[in-house]
Amino acid sequence: MIKVLLFAHLKEQAGRSEMDINCEKMTVAELRQALAEKGILQQDAVMVAVNEEFARDEEMVHSGDTVALIPPVSGG
């Protein structure tokens, strides 16, 4: 199982701060698609972090990993 954390507007739109994806392994791009099918549609400009490090679409995500969707940041 892959745990996915949601923040900011993505969290509000989904109405929750995390979701689980049942899969042994998949690429970040496949994970994005799986999330889109679960209703996380606004992924433009959203970065993906795997285990607290930014990851590219071709990188692999494994069961047990924690993924975070990172919308454009606005700290400071």
Binding site: E52, E53, V73, S74, G75, G76
Partner: protein, 151 residues
């Protein structure tokens, strides 16, 4: 000292954290909550962070500064939660032997925070609220039913 905190930021602690016998300068940057932005009145802000990653990224900024300015020492604290007008959202202190490095390193730190540290700001106005989507503050994400922001 690289922290995400929920309490008010104590700038003197950051200054103490970077104080050094070989420092000839300590530059501090204090980011505060502004009331008026392009004619719109902010009531308060809400900051949310992906805390463990945000802390790591602040540490990474400290490491990047050490590479460029080996003698500089950096401390960064960002606050989350609800902040009122004039509250401190972020404070950065950098010490270095000379003021030029201290100023440049401090500027570098705030620009990097705005680029890649997972922290988000939600604006609350009198007539709506929106997550701010980028640093030019030209992209907003609707939540609830706020009016469209003038772009």
């Amino acid at each position: 000292m690289f922290e995400i905190v929920k309490e008010p930021v104590d700038v003197s602690k950051l200054i103490q954290a970077v104080a050094d016998r070989n420092a000839g300068a300590i530059v501090t940057f204090i980011g505060t909550v502004r009331e008026m932005t392009k004619g719109k009145k902010t009531l308060y802000l809400e900051y949310e962070a992906y805390e463990p990653m945000a802390r790591k990224k602040l540490e990474q900024i400290g490491a990047e500064i050490r590479q460029q300015f080996p003698e500089a020492k950096t401390a960064i604290v960002h606050r989350t939660g609800r902040l009122g007008i004039s509250d401190i959202a972020v404070a950065i202190a950098v010490s270095a032997p000379h003021r030029d490095e201290a100023y440049r390193a401090n500027r570098y730190a705030i620009e990097r925070i705005k680029e890649m540290v997972p922290i988000w700001k939600k604006e609350h106005w009198e007539n709506g609220e929106m997550w701010v989507g980028n640093q030019k503050e030209t992209v907003f994400y609707e939540s609830g039913a706020p009016e469209a922001f003038e772009r």
